[in-house]
């Protein structure tokens, strides 16, 4: 798959994120440890965010440590910008389930096929995904408790999770266990596809 094709696929998925945003009920899992830790736990306990980060980290791992470090910066910066913007501007919580499903599907297939994504493209994709996911998280945090510490915690959680998963991916890749990453990619793609079907069912198949 050429870089242009993969870029087109990525743009399609991310365009969907911007177009398919819909309101949802506010939520932020309570850890009983305060807003910072509520936010820090958010990427870990939110499957959409967790799988997105794991998929990106696996793709970065194929490119080596340098690729992982650049993704880390791009993703966290994008995520933080999205968090701040949405936290300041949102008047309701946003969700984008179809766009999330498409993103997981694209990331999963790219990981499964071990697509050689250029570092620059990976950084751009990571920043855009981070911006979108951060905006979704920021709106959730605004509606949940409205405390700045929550979004600081989310950014910290994203940093830690991306750092650890990319590092683990690099180690697996270097030790010849890239097959584990590819299997993980196939699982993420399968989850994305099922999630997409699930969302489309509510639109295509009449209830009952």
């Amino acid at each position: 798959m050429s870089a242009r094709t993969s870029f087109g696929m990525a743009i399609t998925a991310f365009g969907a994120i911007l177009c398919a945003v819909q309101p949802a009920s506010a939520h932020l899992v309570s850890t009983e440890l305060g807003p910072f830790y509520d936010g820090a736990a958010h990427p870990l306990v939110t499957p959409d965010d967790l799988l997105t980060i794991l998929g990106l980290a696996a793709l970065a791992a194929f490119g080596g440590p340098a690729s992982g470090r650049r993704l880390l910066v791009a993703l966290v910066v994008g995520w933080s910008v999205g968090l701040v913007l949405a936290f300041g501007l949102a008047h309701r919580e946003w969700q984008a389930p179809i766009a999330t499903a498409c993103t997981l599907l694209v990331l999963g297939v790219a990981t499964l096929l071990k697509v050689p994504v250029p570092t620059l493209l990976l950084v751009a994709v990571g920043a855009v995904i981070g911006l979108a996911r951060g905006a979704l998280n920021g709106s959730a945090a605004r509606m949940a408790d409205g405390q700045w510490l929550s979004i600081v915690g989310i950014a910290a959680g994203v940093f830690a999770l991306t750092c650890m998963s990319a590092a683990l991916g690099v180690v697996l890749e270097k030790r010849g266990w890239s097959i584990a990453l590819r299997v993980g990619g196939s699982w993420i793609a399968a989850i994305g596809l099922l999630l997409l079907g699930w969302q489309l069912r509510t639109m295509l198949v009449p209830a009952g």
């Binding site: 793609a189 596809l193 099922l194 999630l195 997409l196 079907g197 699930w198 198949v205």
Partner: protein, 217 residues
């Protein structure tokens, strides 16, 4: 593990280590336990499955026809060796998700139960005969059957509050079944293990015929 006797050496003449034997036995016991504790429903949701991870995990193991086929895929992959060892278990969940997607959006697929039963028959034959076709043929065969399995699941998935958590449980359970199959298949390195796997293939074939009979009558 007391009183364990050494298994025969592999065809290469290298005796398997105690650790490998212990792991193979542990996987086999786990697989037997999973099989013995599974109800004999035919890939239909039990009706009380609600939203969530556990519900998603339970769905793939709710029917022995699915379990037999998915374990057979893992065993066959182990018999074929690399790269089929990992290609088949990777292909199956992904294509099964395609079938699930079709089922979820309401696309009708004729003869789903027959296709599922035939998958057990065909995979049972492959395992029993230790068939080693070209990799592309093996992938195509597994993929075709995976569509039927996925479609059956897709049409029966319950309405859920958390589709993604359910999907995660569903995919992980499918992957675990394949890993169990691969684990069982590790005994392929021993002569007695090969015989046991052939016997397992025969058992899967026999159950496949039962499923086929039920699907046709």
């Amino acid at each position: 593990m007391h009183g364990r006797t050494s298994l025969p050496p592999s065809p290469t003449g290298r005796a398997p280590s105690a650790g490998v034997q212990a792991r193979a036995q542990a996987v086999f016991v786990t697989a037997v336990a999973v099989g013995a504790s599974t109800p004999t429903a035919l890939a239909h949701d039990t009706g009380n499955a609600g939203a969530g991870f556990v519900s998603g995990m339970l769905h793939p193991v709710s029917g022995f026809d699915h379990i037999a086929a998915m374990i057979a895929v893992g065993v066959w992959g182990a018999q074929l060796g690399r790269p089929a060892l990992w290609v088949l278990p990777v292909a199956f969940p992904l294509v099964m998700a395609i079938g699930g997607f079709l089922g979820l959006i309401g696309v009708r697929l004729p003869g789903v139960e027959i296709g599922i039963a035939l998958s057990a028959v065909a995979l049972g034959i492959m395992v029993m005969t230790e068939a080693k076709p070209v990799l592309a043929v093996a992938i195509a065969m597994v993929a075709v059957f995976a569509v039927f399995h996925g479609h059956a699941h897709g049409t029966e998935l319950p309405e859920s509050q958390s589709a993604i958590v359910y999907s995660i449980g569903f995919v992980i359970a499918t992957g675990i079944l394949h890993l169990v199959g691969i684990g069982i298949g590790t005994i392929h390195r021993w002569d007695r293990g090969r015989i046991a796997l052939r016997g397992l293939g025969g058992a899967i074939l026999a159950t496949g015929f039962v499923f086929l009979w039920n699907a046709l009558t």
